[in-house]
């Protein structure tokens, strides 16, 4: 049994069906609201790109290495001074 074996719409009804909701449109502020939401989630806008560039693997490793170096300096100093 195919889907078309059910009561089918007449061509006139099909045209009416296609027309349901056609004249409806969202308010213009939805665009700004949506873009703001996307920006806040880092999915849109220059801020997101900058953040992505700042957190490249190389920069993260450099930062981690620097942190380890500083920590070793802090803990090494008292021992060295004894």
């Amino acid at each position: 049994m195919t889907e078309h074996s059910f009561e089918e719409w007449t061509p006139e009804e099909r045209a009416q069906l296609a027309d349901v909701g056609q004249h409806r449109s969202p308010r213009s502020e939805l665009k700004g609201r949506t873009m703001r939401d996307l920006r806040e989630r880092g999915l849109l806008g220059a801020a997101g790109s900058r953040r992505a560039q700042e957190f490249s693997l190389g920069r993260m490793l450099d930062g981690y290495e620097g942190l380890l170096f500083n920590m070793s300096e802090v803990h090494a100093s008292p021992v060295a001074s004894v």
Partner: protein, 193 residues
């Protein structure tokens, strides 16, 4: 020195000489987070998606707007899943339909049961136009009818989205069509039966 990807075309929202393809816009959003590209893609596909949402949530414009906003968030978060073999608009409307169904389901209105009346509000003897007749359906029936007869989904796709069997989807569509027909203006009903 800024990283330049030669395969990514920069989108200029003021350039109206040649409309950018959906593929170029998606690429610019994915790689550059381009707001100009998103604005064009939004203007191109939101009206149709809004209508899909509006029909499924039963004619509530505020809920339909919330659905479209959530659909864009999901779409932009998963642009890498869009297959270029499919039309972007159809892919986005699929996401929109999914979000709209979730909204109706969370409200506890999406009941797809043979015992549930297909009509949400009883106004016997009142003739309606097609839009009012569809909006008067119980949410579960309306979802099936809209997805199949208006949006062009198959029963298998509807079954997957609604968590029912394809057979149930066919049965609900049959009942929904009968109710809508019975509520249409008398002249049209006679032609249909």
């Amino acid at each position: 020195m800024p990283l330049v990807r030669p395969n990514v075309r920069m989108i200029d929202a003021t350039d109206v000489s040649a409309p950018a393809s959906d593929e170029a816009l998606v690429s610019a959003i994915r790689h550059e987070r381009s707001e100009a590209a998103f604005a064009v893609l939004y203007d191109r596909h939101t009206p149709r998606a809004f209508q899909t949402a509006w029909r499924i949530v039963g004619g509530n414009p505020h809920e339909a707007e919330d659905v479209v906003q959530e659909a864009w968030l999901r779409a932009v978060s998963s642009l890498d899943r869009w297959s270029r073999q499919s039309e972007f608009g159809a892919w986005f409307r699929g996401i929109t339909a999914h979000v709209a169904i979730d909204v109706v389901r969370k409200q506890g209105w999406l009941v797809l049961d043979a015992d549930v009346d297909a009509v949400s509000d009883e106004t016997p003897g009142e003739w309606m136009d097609m839009e009012s007749a569809i909006l008067s359906l119980a949410p579960g029936y309306r979802a099936v009818l809209v997805l199949h007869d208006v949006e062009g989904f198959t029963h298998e796709e509807i079954a997957e989205r609604l968590g029912i069997t394809a057979g149930t989807s066919k049965g609900q569509l049959f009942k929904a069509r009968r109710v809508v027909r019975a509520r249409l203006a008398p002249g049209m009903e006679r032609r249909a039966l």
